[in-house]
Amino acid sequence: MELDSLYQEVILDHYKNPHHKGLPTGAIQVHHVNPSCGDEITLSLAVSNGIITDLVWDGVGCSISQASSSIMSDLVVGKSVDQAFSILDEFSALMASKGAMVGNEDVLEDAIALAGVSKFPARVKCALLGWMAFKDAAIQADISWRREQ
């Protein structure tokens, strides 16, 4: 069934047991919503010397948005902001591909399971919700760290 390409096992696993989900308490906190459906995410992270050292998020949303936030967290924690942003760029390109790309597993790891989302334009925003919150927070955290030095 076409649905199985959207709801891959990996996605449902992350949905049921999301990683890095908890109570965001860091100094840098962002809150993003998807106004068309009401999904929300609060995300906090810490950047030290250009490296993302910690990330916690909480939110309500569909399986795609929750799984995507979980996968994103795994991918970016421990990476440099620059590395994380290049992963984000690659993921954004995959989401914009309308089903034409499969994604580079070396870079995107579990996130390639979200490739099927790109065939459902209405769901792309779900998949990007957590990533956009991350981008927003990472920029703020990086600026904040530099200022403190």
Binding site: E2, S36, C37, G38, G61
Partner: protein
Amino acid sequence: MKSVLDVAAIKADFPIFEQSMRGGKRLVFLDSGATSQKPRSVIEAESNFYYTSNAAVHRGSYLLAERASEAFDGARSDVAEFLGVDSEEIIFTKSATESLNILAYAFGNPRSARCVGPGDEIVLSELEHHANLIPWQELAKRTGAVLKWFSVQEDGSLDLSNISSVITEKCKIVAITHQSNVLGSIPNIAPIISATHAVGALFVLDACQSVPHMPVAPRELGIDFLAFSGHKALGPTGVGVLWGKSDLLDGMQPMLFGGSMIDSVTMTDATWADAPKRFEAGVPNMAQAVGLAAGLKYLQSVGLEKIHEWELQLTKRALDGLREIADVKILGPQSLEQRGGVISFVIDGLHPHDVGQVMDQFGVAVRTGHHCAWPLIRKLGVSGTTRASFYLYNDMSDVDVLLESVTAARDYFRKR
């Protein structure tokens, strides 16, 4: 039992049902609460205007301009006749949203005969769609007026037990929906209208979900203003209606200024035409108004009472069926009392988007999310709902596919 409507014949009038959806499935359109599909007569009326009559109305001394004016004025008469009101009381807007904003702007303008000020009260309900909420919120912010509202109860009705403390002498405007776009509940507006007029306030009815689906007579209801959107009533997008009592409209300042809406203009000043032209600045949405009139004619030919009765039959079957599916919870009214053909439900543990995605595989079109009524969704304590809304082109087999697809959605995520 003989069906109230000949749905097969009706469906044949709507070309959109001729195509198939994902996987070759037929279209089961259960999102008429968001927008209705269009019969051929509406599509043709709109396109025929462009083929034969297109010119700017109410100006130009040539034959086409006369035809355009005749068609546009005729559409206004048709809408007036549909509601049982006078033509001069019908204002064509781009949407019900614009209709309600025109009111909110007029009541915020000190040059209007009726205007709200600091400490005055505006009364709404928790059922309201954003279109009948935010314009009033903004009016309150601009003027220092205070927003008050009736609370919604679990069965989707409004709690009127405190009506005398909600509507007081300070109240200037009461704006309430005729039917919830989320729950389908029809609030008991009669006592609210009486209370409104008892304190000398004005009553605005958001009739977006009622006018397309049941007989609505503003004069019999005793209301002051009514708004509805054309595209939910078989008409084209880009046209809505504002009805208001003539004496009230003539005391109101317009929201948009420009051509067509004036009486006289100098370099420093201008005066306004009477309603409805005062509120229709610019070359209007002529083809859309003509299309809407064709849509309303179609509804009249079928019969609004029959449409309402049929929708309730569909709703009954859907409510009974949904109740049989474990883990499904129907929100709002559980019976056919005081409701229309809109049902919101949630499946325990599943997000509405995921539910809607599986239903799409069955060709079922439903709305998922907060339905532009976020405060109501928060009050219901859910993140969103899945909503099925019925119309005259839906039949019992559509309900069966709805139930099949809901069961499949539940099972799809359960087993994995």
